[in-house]
Symmetry: C2
Subunit: 237 residues, 2 copies
DNA sequence: CTCTCTATTTTGGTCGGACCAAACATGATC
DNA sequence: GATCATGTTTGGTCCGACCAAAATAGAGAG
C-alpha cells in the first residue's frame, strides 16, 4: 500500500501542469518541450526544479529526454508504460526463477488468447494469421528472419483480442525476454519444429477448437522454455 | 575504451553502482541511503548529479524517497514495479475505453486462472478458497467488509498459480480500478449476487470443470463491468 | 533510570550564478 | 542547392549558499 506524503515538492505542481497540457494537447506529441530557462521564468522557479520536473515526466513516459536533446513530448500510452517498466524489470530477471515467473504469465495470457482466438476470430483475423504463418514458413532458412516472423505470428494472437493494452504486453514480453532467448543457439531444425507448432495453433483456431489451440500454444511455449532453461547453468545466485 | 554511447549522463554510473549495491545487498532494504553529501564525495560528483541519481532510483522503485526524508532502500520486486506503474497508469484510465481495456485484460487473465485452478488446485488451495468464500458470505451484511473479502477471494485464484508476479498483478488491478469501482453504490442485493457468483466459481473448481469455472468467473466480472460502466456517463471525451 | 522536552546538528529542498560542450540556427562559400 | 564555417541556443554539470524540517544530542523533570 502506498502512503501519501503531506509535504509536496515544488516540482510537483510543475509536473502536474505540464502533464495536464500534454493530456489536453496544449503540448503536442513529437514537439519539443519549452527550454528549461523559459519554463523556470514561466513558473517562477529555479532551473533545478524545472529539471527535476522534466526528469519526473520522463520517468512517467510523458516526455522522451535524450541527453543533450530537447525533451520531446510523448502521448501517454501503453508503450510509454512498457518503456518505464523496462528500466526496472531487468532487476527482476536476474534469477532463473524470475525469468520463469515472467514467462509463466506469458504462457497463461497467450494460452487464453489462443483459446479466445479459436472462439472469436473473424475472417480477417484468420487471414492475418495465415499470412503470418506463411511468412514464418518462408523464413525457415534464415534464423534471424524466422525469429522476426515468429514474433509477428504470436503478435497476431494479441491483435485479435482487439485490446491495445495486450499488444503492448506482447512487446514487453519480447523485449524483456529477448536477451535470454538470444543466448539460445538458432538451429534450422528448431525453426522447422516451431513452424509446425505455429501451424498446429493455426489449424486449431481454424477448426474453432479452443482446447486444442490452447494446448498447442502452451506446449509450444513450454518447449521453448526448456530450450532457454538450459542456458541458465553458469550463473546461479 | 570500449564503445560507449556517445552521450551518457554522469548520474548513470552512480545509478548503476547504487543499483548494484542494492542487488548485492551491500545496501540493505529498509535502510536509509547515505546522505547526499557523502555520496557526492564518494563518487566525486556534484550534489546535482547525486540528487538526479536518487530521483532515477526512486522512479525505478529501488528507493522510496519521501520529501524531506532520507531515501529508503527498497528491494526490487514485483510490488515496486506496480508502484512505478501506478504513477502513469491513471493517464491511461481517463477514458472509458482505457478502463475497459485494462479490465478486459483482467477478465482474460482471471478467466485463465480460474480454468487453471480447476485443473491444478490442490487440497490446501481448495481449503483457502473455501475459507475465503466463507468469509465472503459472512460479510454480506457489511458492504465494506464484503468488498474486502471479495478482493481476498479473487486473490486466492492468483495465489493458486504460485506465481508472485501474478499476485502483484492482482494488487495492481484492485488499486487502479478501485477509484472507478468505488463510484458504484454498494447494495446488499448486489453482495448476495456476487457471493453467489463466487460460490459458482468455487463449485466449478471443486468439480474440476475448467470450462464452468472460466464461464462463471467471466460472467461474474462482465456483470461487474456493466455496473461500473453506467458510472461513465458524465465525462466523455 | 526512564521519559519528555529543548537545543544543536544534520540533511534534503531550493535558489542563483557560472561554465562547458553539444545541438541548433545562420549565413557565407563553392 | 549542397556544404561548411560561424555564432547562438540549450542541456549537463559544478559551486556555494540558505532555509526548514528531520534527526540527534543534551538537559531537565518525574
Amino acid at each position: 500500500m502506498t502512503g501519501q506524503n503531506a509535504a509536496h515538492r515544488a516540482s510537483d505542481q510543475v509536473v502536474a501542469e505540464i502533464e495536464k497540457r500534454i493530456r489536453t494537447r496544449a503540448l503536442v506529441e513529437g514537439q519539443p518541450l519549452p527550454p528549461e530557462r523559459d519554463l523556470m521564468e514561466e513558473f517562477g522557479i529555479s532551473r533545478t526544479v524545472v529539471r527535476e520536473a522534466v526528469r519526473i515526466l520522463s520517468s512517467r513516459g510523458l516526455v522522451e529526454a535524450r541527453p543533450r536533446f530537447r525533451p520531446v513530448v510523448r502521448k501517454p500510452g501503453y508503450d510509454g508504460a512498457v518503456d518505464v517498466l523496462s528500466g526496472i524489470v531487468p532487476n527482476l530477471l536476474t534469477t532463473k526463477d524470475g525469468v520463469k515467473n515472467l514467462f509463466d504469465t506469458r504462457v497463461l495470457i497467450e494460452g487464453a488468447l489462443a483459446r479466445q482466438a479459436a472462439l472469436t476470430a473473424g475472417k480477417d483475423d484468420i487471414a492475418d494469421l495465415k499470412a503470418a504463418l506463411a511468412a514464418n514458413e518462408a523464413a525457415m532458412e534464415d534464423s534471424d528472419e524466422f525469429y522476426a516472423t515468429d514474433k509477428a505470428f504470436h503478435n497476431v494472437l494479441y491483435k485479435i483480442s482487439g485490446n491495445p493494452a495486450l499488444l503492448a504486453v506482447h512487446r514487453a514480453y519480447t523485449t524483456w525476454l529477448e536477451p535470454h532467448w538470444s543466448r539460445m543457439p538458432r538451429l534450422k531444425e528448431r525453426n522447422a519444429r516451431n513452424y509446425q507448432a505455429h501451424k498446429d495453433i493455426f489449424d486449431a483456431i481454424l477448426m474453432r477448437d479452443p482446447d486444442a489451440a490452447e494446448k498447442a500454444l502452451v506446449e509450444h511455449l513450454e518447449n521453448a522454455w526448456t530450450q532457454v532453461s538450459s542456458t541458465f547453468d553458469s550463473s546461479k545466485t
